[in-house]
Each structure stands twice: as structure tokens, then as C-alpha cells.
């Protein structure tokens, strides 16, 4: 591990943090290494608190320790608790993952937004401007990850901002700051990718051959052109409730426009023929 990496554990070292963020002002993101997640939900709490998100009610889901269930308009970090059948001596093994908005490089929500409320920021993250959003709900249906949602009492769409306000101030996003195991790593996206590749190599060498990266590059996930918040997983994406091959609608929509054009021609012909063909 590098010195920069270790800074995540020194909570009060604001100077180093500022230096680090200054170096990485362009393209930032999250690398969530699920192998070291302990399911403490500090990320969920820190996110709620920093972003002053409304509560989701006191729900008992019956799904292991997961009472948050899914990302949503007021839940921008969500820890999944997967109980897998396991080998001798144990009833099951844990898979834990802190899920978050992926800040896709080709973002379906941004593509869909008719008001320009959803923008790509100077940090290469995807941000919903609450003063613009008119709550049309199109982004909700467009997101292939089921991340963004409309808040019913408020009428607008909300999702993770990657702590845009904190980034502006040179700070680490609240969830990454609160993570006690560095499962959530924040930083320059290229640096995170290199670090993630190293981590996979390390795990493979240690015998954890199931480890792989989800959405770390354009090649790994052509449907989104890669994610600025990507993950290291130990099982198929479905196990964590992630889509195996998400595709931004813009990639397939040309056929629908062509189809509409053909239907429009047919409508025009039908109208003219109906009028001319009468007796």
C-alpha cells in the first residue's frame, strides 16, 4: 500500500486530503472493494447525515441484516447482505457490498433528462440540479441500475451526488471518509483502476480466484462505457442485485427512431389514400 492510500485512515489529516484532491480534480470516482466490507453501514449513516436525507421509515425487511433494501431517492449508499451456502463448519458465508450510484460514463439518466437538470460535473460525476428538476420521472425508468428515484413528497428525482459540495471544498465524500476498512476508496479514477487491478491480482495470488472487477472500464461494460464508481466482486453481479450487462438506452434507440419514421410515412400514406380512395 502506498502512503497516499494510508491517509484514508487518518481522519484528521485534512491537509493531505486537500493535496490529494487537488491532484485529482478532473475525474474522480469510487472503487468499492467488497472483500473488505464488514457491513457496518457507516457509509449509509454518513451519507444520510452529510446530505441530510429524509429517513426511509423503520422497516424490518427480513432480508438478513439489510433493512435498507435498495438504493433510492433518500438512500444513496446501500449495504447488501448476501448469505451464501458454505463449506464445512459454517452455515453460510457473507458477501457484503456497499452499493452506490455508478456515475456512468454514458449515463442513461443524463441522456433521458429533458430539462438539463442532470449534468456531468467538472469532476466527471453525474449530478441532479434540484433547482431545475421538474420531476418528469423519465430518468427513473432510464437508469439500468435502478439507482435514481423520485421522492414522493418532494416531487423531484434524487441520487448520490458523489458529495459534490465536499469535492468543491477539497474533501473526501462522506461515505468513503466514514468507511473504517477502506472498502470504499475515493480518488482519481485512473489511479483507482490501477489500484483495483493490483488488488484483483493480489487476491488471485492468495487463492481468491473468484475476484473480478465490475464496470471498471469501457471494455468490461460497453453498455455504459464504464463506471466511475466500480466494484470488486466475488460472485456474479445478480447475487448483489447488479445487472450483468447494463445498456444505456441511447445505444439501442436508433432502431426505434427508424421504426417511428417508417410508421410516420405509413400514417401519411394512410391518410392520403383514405381520402383519395373514397367513393
Amino acid at each position: 500500500m502506498t502512503a497516499v492510500h494510508n491517509n484514508c485512515l487518518c481522519g484528521s489529516n485534512a491537509r493531505n486530503e486537500r493535496v490529494r484532491t487537488a491532484q485529482t480534480q478532473r475525474k474522480v470516482g469510487f472503487f468499492t472493494d467488497t472483500t473488505v466490507c464488514i457491513g457496518c453501514k457507516a457509509c449509509e449513516v454518513a451519507c444520510k447525515q452529510w446530505n441530510q436525507l429524509p429517513d426511509d421509515g423503520l422497516l424490518f425487511s427480513g432480508m438478513s441484516y439489510d433493512n435498507t433494501v435498495h438504493l433510492g431517492a433518500s438512500t444513496w449508499r446501500h449495504v447488501a447482505f448476501v448469505e451464501r451456502p458454505m463449506v464445512e463448519n459454517t452455515k453460510f458465508s457473507w458477501l457484503l457490498m456497499s452499493d452506490v450510484c455508478k456515475h456512468c460514463r454514458t449515463a442513461a439518466c443524463l441522456d433521458a433528462c429533458p430539462t438539463g437538470s442532470i449534468i456531468r460535473t467538472e469532476f466527471d460525476t453525474v449530478f441532479v440540479q434540484p433547482d431545475i428538476c421538474n420531476g418528469c420521472g423519465y430518468c427513473v425508468s432510464a437508469c439500468p441500475f435502478g439507482v435514481i428515484d423520485r421522492r414522493e413528497d418532494d416531487g423531484r428525482a434524487w441520487k448520490c451526488t458523489l458529495c459534490y459540495d465536499r469535492l468543491d471544498a477539497g474533501m473526501t465524500p462522506a461515505c468513503a471518509k466514514a468507511c473504517p476498512t477502506e472498502s470504499i476508496q475515493f480518488g482519481d479514477i485512473d489511479e483507482l483502476r490501477a489500484r483495483a487491478a493490483d488488488r484483483v491480482r493480489e487476491l488471485h495470488q492468495a487463492g481468491v480466484t473468484d475476484a473480478y472487477l465490475y464496470g471498471d472500464s469501457r471494455e468490461a461494460q460497453p453498455g455504459t462505457d464504464g463506471l466511475n464508481a466500480f466494484f470488486l466482486l466475488l460472485d456474479r453481479p445478480e447475487v448483489y442485485n447488479l445487472p450483468p450487462h447494463p445498456v444505456a438506452p441511447r445505444k439501442t434507440i436508433a432502431r426505434s427512431w427508424r421504426s417511428m419514421a417508417a410508421a410516420s410515412v405509413a400514417l401519411a400514406v394512410t391518410a392520403v389514400v383514405s381520402v383519395l380512395g373514397r367513393k
Binding site: 430539462t115 426505434s256 417511428m260
Partner: protein, 292 residues
């Protein structure tokens, strides 16, 4: 195919749209098709006038429904803040902005202005009738996304059938009735054919096709086709009979409305089913489970 999910929790968020949006899909389709017929009916002043009036009424109802569905209706005008070709909703907003004034002018202003405005509305009405099919397909919802080719055709045909049926409710001379009959038959046949095409298009992956085969959405889907079929049969005889025409018109309106409601419900059911998304994406990439 593996059937693993995360406690059956939906991977997608279900569309948040209330019934206003299918209502807009119906009204917008009727407005567009009616404007097009109005522009084509150059030598039938009575029919032309009724087409233009229907367009304006449908447009007003549709726009009101659109605004009512917004989480922040007062910010409706933000729809015209940007021009975003990747968003069919943005394109639709601009289309409405172009179509609306033309359709309004064609309906209420004197002929000198109404006639050219009617032509503009007729041309803008073409994409207005079917773009909502593109809008629906351009989502992550499997039952919509997979129907990317058939949905725009289905929505256009449904618009034609709806407009022809609504117009047929009124009084017409024999010539006008013959025009409406032909226009309506084309729309209804198109609606049934596009529905069959849609079922084929989504049929490759059973989990994607399910909402069109099982449950509430499938019931609405079949009911729509039943209504449209009855309407089609009633409109086949050339001989005029007022009662039969009106019964056929009512069935046609019901069919054209229900088919869009059914598509909306199918989308909600599809988004709620994580298997639809998982199976579709695995099938598309035809990869083994090892190949993540």
C-alpha cells in the same frame, strides 16, 4: 439459466408515472393522427374542420395530463431549457411546442391562417403520433426496451384507430364516413399486427414476454385486442348503419386506449421482476456464468 436474485428485490425502479401518462400517450396519438387526416382531407371541409377541432381538444387534454404528472408541475417550462437528442422526452417537448400553436391556429383561426397552419400541424402530427413509442422503448425496462421496433408502430396505429373512432362518433356524410372507415380499418389492422409483432419481438426471452402473457397487464393487453377486433369487424361492411358505426367507434376508442394502458402496466410489471432484466442481459450476451 441461473435464477439467482437478491431476495427477489427489483433491480430497476418501476416507472413512477401515474395514469396521466398513458392518457397523454392516447391523447397525443389521437391529436397527431387527426391533424394528419385533417391536412389530407383538403376537399372535405366538414371532416377537415372536425379533425382540426378534435386535434385541439386532444392536444389540450394531453398537455394537461403531461403537466399534471410532473412532480413539480409549476416547472413545466423547464422542458424547453435544453435541446437533447438523446432524450425522446426532450424531442417530444419541442415537437409539442411546434405542433401546439399550429394545431390551435388550425382549429380556431379564420381559413386564411388555419389552412397553412393545418398543413404544419398535419406534418408535425406524424411524429407526434408515434414518438411516445420511442420514449417508452428508450428505457431500461425490459418489456419496453425489447419492443424497440414494434412500439412506435403500435403507438402510431393506436393513434390512427383512436382518432378514426372518435371522429366516427359524430355525424358525417357518406363520403366522409367512407374516409373514416378506411382510415380506421388501417389503424385497427395496424394495431393488431403491431401487437403481434411486439409479442414476437419480446418473445425470445420468456421472462421479458411474461407481462404480455400473465397477470393484470396481459388481461388489459388481451382486452384491448378484443375491443379492437370487434371494432374492426363492425367497420368492415360498406353499407352505412348509424348504430353499428357508433358501436364500432366505441370499441375502437376502448381498444386504442387500453393497448397503451396495457403497455404501461406491462412495463411496471417488467421493472418489478429482476429476472426479466437478468435473463435478458444474459441472453443478449449469450455468455456462460463463468464469463462475467
Amino acid at each position: 439459466m441461473s435464477d439467482v436474485t437478491y431476495y427477489d428485490v427489483p433491480v430497476l425502479k418501476a416507472p413512477v408515472w401515474k395514469w396521466f401518462i398513458p392518457a397523454y400517450f392516447v391523447a397525443g396519438g389521437i391529436a397527431g393522427a387527426s391533424s394528419t387526416l385533417g391536412a389530407a382531407a383538403r376537399d372535405l371541409p366538414g371532416l377537415r374542420r372536425r379533425c382540426r377541432r378534435l386535434s385541439l381538444v386532444a392536444l389540450s387534454v394531453g398537455t394537461a395530463a403531461l403537466i399534471a404528472d410532473l412532480g413539480r408541475p409549476s416547472r413545466f417550462a423547464n422542458m424547453l431549457r435544453v435541446f437533447r437528442p438523446t432524450s425522446p422526452m426532450s424531442m417530444g417537448s419541442w415537437l409539442l411546442a411546434a405542433y401546439g400553436p399550429a394545431a390551435g391556429a388550425a382549429a380556431v383561426l379564420p381559413d386564411k391562417i388555419a389552412d397553412p397552419a393545418g398543413i404544419v400541424a398535419g406534418i408535425a402530427g406524424l411524429p407526434l403520433t408515434g414518438y411516445t413509442g420511442v420514449l417508452t422503448a428508450a428505457t431500461a425496462v425490459p418489456a419496453w426496451q425489447e419492443a424497440g421496433r414494434s412500439l412506435p408502430v403500435l403507438f402510431t396505429a393506436s393513434g390512427i384507430a383512436g382518432a378514426a373512432s372518435l371522429l366516427a362518433l359524430g355525424d358525417h356524410n357518406d363520403q366522409e364516413a367512407a374516409v373514416l372507415r378506411r382510415f380506421g380499418i388501417a389503424g385497427k389492422v395496424g394495431e393488431l399486427a403491431a401487437s403481434a409483432a411486439l409479442e414476437r419481438e419480446v418473445g425470445a426471452v420468456p421472462a421479458v414476454a411474461r407481462p404480455y402473457k400473465e397477470g393484470r397487464s396481459a388481461l388489459l393487453w388481451r382486452l384491448a385486442h378484443g375491443c379492437t377486433t370487434i371494432s374492426l369487424l363492425l367497420s368492415l361492411p360498406r353499407k352505412r348503419a348509424r348504430r353499428r358505426e357508433q358501436a364500432g367507434a366505441l370499441a375502437g376508442i376502448a381498444g386504442s386506449f387500453l393497448v397503451k394502458v396495457a403497455v404501461m402496466e406491462a412495463g411496471k410489471a417488467s421493472a418489478d421482476d429482476p429476472r426479466a432484466t437478468f435473463h435478458l442481459q444474459r441472453a443478449r450476451n449469450s455468455d456462460s456464468l463463468d464469463n462475467r
